[in-house]
């Protein structure tokens, strides 16, 4: 678990450093996600020298198990920030009703647009792919 944690934190730290250093508009942890993806790719590549160098927990599935455990409880990590929101709801007092309507409608529109565009483009791509093969 410690090896997994160290690797995950290392990816995040490098991500933060890159984001800050280059003034990127992407959050450090998201860059860290990309770095972790790259690590997994290199690790599993054929004849990867990493397989001889890395400690066992990073190779035998322990890392994957730890990652799954974190992701299974993603909701938990929003609780502290969410509690902070409750204390600041007074900020919404003057415009509360309007903001509530905007949040509901725009979130619904956002979900709807994304899912419909995804679905129609994916149908289009698949149809074209099918024709190309046939």
């Amino acid at each position: 678990m410690i090896a997994s944690l160290a690797l995950i934190l290392l990816a995040q730290l490098t991500g933060e450093a890159l984001a800050r250093g280059f003034g990127l508009p992407v959050p450090g942890p998201v860059i860290g996600m990309g770095l972790m993806f790259g690590f997994l790719f290199l690790r599993d590549a054929e004849r990867s020298p990493l397989r001889r160098l890395l400690p066992a927990p990073l190779l035998d599935g322990t890392l994957e198990g730890n990652a799954k455990g974190l992701l299974a409880n993603l909701s938990l990590m929003f609780v502290p920030a969410g509690v902070g929101v409750v204390g600041r709801l007074d900020l919404l007092k003057t415009q509360g009703m309007k903001l509530a309507v905007i949040l509901f409608v725009s979130t619904a529109v956002s979900l709807l647009t994304t899912v419909l565009v995804f679905r129609s483009v994916s149908a289009l791509v698949e149809r074209r792919g099918g024709r190309g093969e046939g």
Binding site: P25, V26, L70, L71, A81, G84, T107, V115
Partner: protein, 239 residues
Amino acid sequence: MAGGDFSLWVYLARTPLLWLTVTLTAYVAADRIAAATGRHPLANPVLVAVVFVAAVLALTDTPYPTYFEGAQFVHFLLGPATVVLAFPLYERRATVMRALVPMLAALAAGAVMTLVCVIALAHLFAIPRPILVSLAPKSVTSGVAMGISAALGGDPTLTAILVILTGIIGAILVTPMMEGLGITDMRARGFAAGLAAHGIGTARAFQVSEVAGTFAGIAMGLNAFVTAILAPVALHLLN
């Protein structure tokens, strides 16, 4: 005797242990309730746990900074949890690569529509500009949204509130909406959840299916990037 109890409380309330325990216990209880309702969208574990903790803080008259001293250990895990989104992404990289074109199209359409919709509604309701600026990045994960809002002259605290509320609203809306529309493609459903409702939507998507969660994580990361570029442009065009 009452004095003794009180000094024990004063001691405990100052250590991170108490509030860390309260946070974890509230979450376990909220998750248990969510499981008992068959993961009903309204029994959103974030929402329920927040209500529990907020009730405890109100009853004990505890200020938020005191609470956060304990809860920060949980809050800290948001970063590592984002990093490990690489795992489902890596495991399903073939599925993801096949969906690259629909993903990019949905990303562009979703990010633009969200901004247009927010700005149009804000105009309709005559929302003052500083609030509008704070509202614009509401679908983006909170750290980035606060940065966008601050850079454009908004109020980052207000943005954080709007972001969390958007996440909870999105997580509650997504499942009934998709079921109502008869959409069974978990890639599309997850991608929409992550784009509209960032990490809270992603957490919801993982409850429904791992494919949905994977796509939600990608959408969350991509939207943070795209909205950070689009929001200043959209607000500039407005002037």
